[in-house]
Symmetry: C2
Subunit: 236 residues, 2 copies
C-alpha cells in the first residue's frame, strides 16, 4: 500500500470546532498559542492506560478507539471517537492517570491541549465547558447503550449494531453496499463486541454466507443493511 501524502492541518482548523467556537477573535488569539497539531499513524497510541494526564486531544481528522486492557491480555473497546470529539478529558479533568488507552484507527490529526493550559482556559472562559459537557454526555449515553447491549443481546446482535454504527461514522456508499472505510481487524471487532476473535469470525462468516456482509480488501461491506438492522433489532 503506497503511503498517502497527508497535509498537516492548520491549528486554525480548531477554531471551527467546539469548544473553541464560542471564543471571540481576541480570545482565540490568546488561546491558540501553545496549541499544536499532532499526527498519528494508523495503529499508533496517543497515550496508554495508566499514563499521567499530560494533555487533552481534540480530534480534527480520523478515528480513535478508547481501549481498556485487562490483566489477562484481553482488550475492550469502550468507544470510537470521531472528528469533533475530545479524548482524555476524564484524566485531564480529575488529574488522574488515563483510564483507557487511545489508539488511532486510521490516520489521525488532533489538537493537543496540555492539561494546565486546558484547565486555565476553562477557568478563564467558562463558556467552553458546554462543549465538554456535550461530549461527556455523548459518552455516557454510548456507554449506557453498550452496557445494555452486553447484558441483553447475543454476539450476533451486538456485532450487527456495531457494524451499522461504524457504517454511520465512517461509511461510504458504493455499488454493492456500504463500505466501512476504517481498516478493522476481526480482533478489533471482537474487542468492540466484548467477545473473542473466534466467535466474531464465526458470526461474520455466517453473515457473509447469507449475503448480509462481505470483506473486500480488508474492508467490511454491508450488502444488506436492512437485514442487518433486523438482526440488530430482533428482541428475542
Amino acid at each position: 500500500m503506497p503511503t498517502k501524502r497527508v497535509k498537516t492541518a492548520s491549528i486554525e482548523l480548531a477554531r471551527k470546532v467546539p469548544p473553541f467556537t464560542v471564543l471571540s477573535s481576541e480570545e482565540w488569539a490568546e488561546v491558540r498559542t501553545g496549541l499544536h497539531v499532532r499526527k498519528y499513524e494508523e495503529g499508533a497510541f496517543l497515550f496508554f492506560e495508566g499514563d499521567p494526564p499530560a494533555a487533552l486531544y481534540l480530534i480534527l481528522e480520523g478515528h480513535i478507539a478508547l481501549v481498556r486492557h485487562s490483566p489477562e491480555g484481553r482488550d475492550i473497546v469502550l468507544d470510537v471517537m470521531r472528528p469533533g470529539n475530545m479524548v482524555g478529558e476524564l484524566a485531564v479533568f480529575e488529574g488522574v492517570p488515563y483510564s483507557a488507552s487511545a489508539k488511532a484507527l486510521d490516520h489521525v490529526q488532533v489538537v493537543a491541549i496540555p492539561r494546565d493550559k486546558f484547565l486555565h482556559m476553562l477557568r478563564r472562559y467558562p463558556r467552553m465547558a458546554t462543549a465538554v459537557i456535550y461530549d461527556l454526555t455523548r459518552r455516557v449515553r454510548h456507554l449506557s447503550d453498550l452496557v445494555q447491549s452486553l447484558v441483553i443481546e447475543r454476539v450476533e446482535q451486538r456485532l450487527a449494531r456495531i457494524l451499522l454504527r461504524l457504517a454511520k461514522i465512517s461509511g461510504e456508499r458504493t455499488e454493492d453496499g456500504w463500505v466501512i472505510t476504517l481498516p478493522l481487524t476481526r480482533q478489533d471487532l471482537a474487542d468492540m463486541a466484548g467477545t473473542t476473535v473466534e466467535t466474531a469470525i464465526r458470526t461474520l462468516s455466517r453473515m457473509r454466507k447469507e449475503g448480509i456482509v462481505d470483506t473486500v480488501h480488508g474492508r467490511i461491506v454491508i450488502r444488506d443493511a436492512e437485514r442487518l438492522s433486523r438482526i440488530a433489532e430482533t428482541s428475542e
Copy 2:
C-alpha cells in the same frame, strides 16, 4: 415496620452541595427561587425512561438507581447515585427524553431544578458547569468499569465487586461485619450484575455457605470482606 418520621430538608441544604457552592450569597438568593425539595418513598420513581426532560435532580439524601428497561422485561441498573450526585443531566442538557428511569432505593430527598431554570442558571453562572462535568466524569468512569466487568468477569466476581461498592456507599460497621443498609432484593442485585435472579441467588447462597456474606432482616451483611475482595480481584 413503623413508618419513620422524616424531616423535610430545607432548600438551604442545597447551598452546601455542588454546583451551588460556587455561588455568592446574592447569586444564591437569586437562584434559589423556583427550587424546591421533593421527597420520594423507597421504590418510587422520580421519572421513567422516555419521559420528557422536565427537571434535573440533585440528591440531598438517599440513593437512586438509574435503570434501563429492556423490551423483554429485563431491567439493568446502570449506576447507583448518592447524595451530592445529579440525576437526569443527560436528558435535561440535550433536551431529549430521559434515557433511563430513576428509582429511589431508600427514602430520598432531592432538589428539583426545572430544565429551563437549570439551563438559564448555567448560562448566567458558567462556573457551575464544573460540578456537572465532575459528575459526568464519575459516571463515565463507572460505566467504563461496568463494561469491562461485564466482558471479562464472571457473575461471582461482579457480585463481589458490587457488594463491596454498596458497602462503601451505604455500609454500616457492626459486630459481625459490614451491613449494607440499602434494602435490596435479589432481583436488584441481579439487575446490577447483569444476570438473572436465579443466578444471583445461587451465587449468594454459595457465598453464604462459605461464611462470606449473610442476610439479616433482608439486609446483606459482609462477614468476610477480605475474602470478598479476593474474589472480586481474582484475575482468572
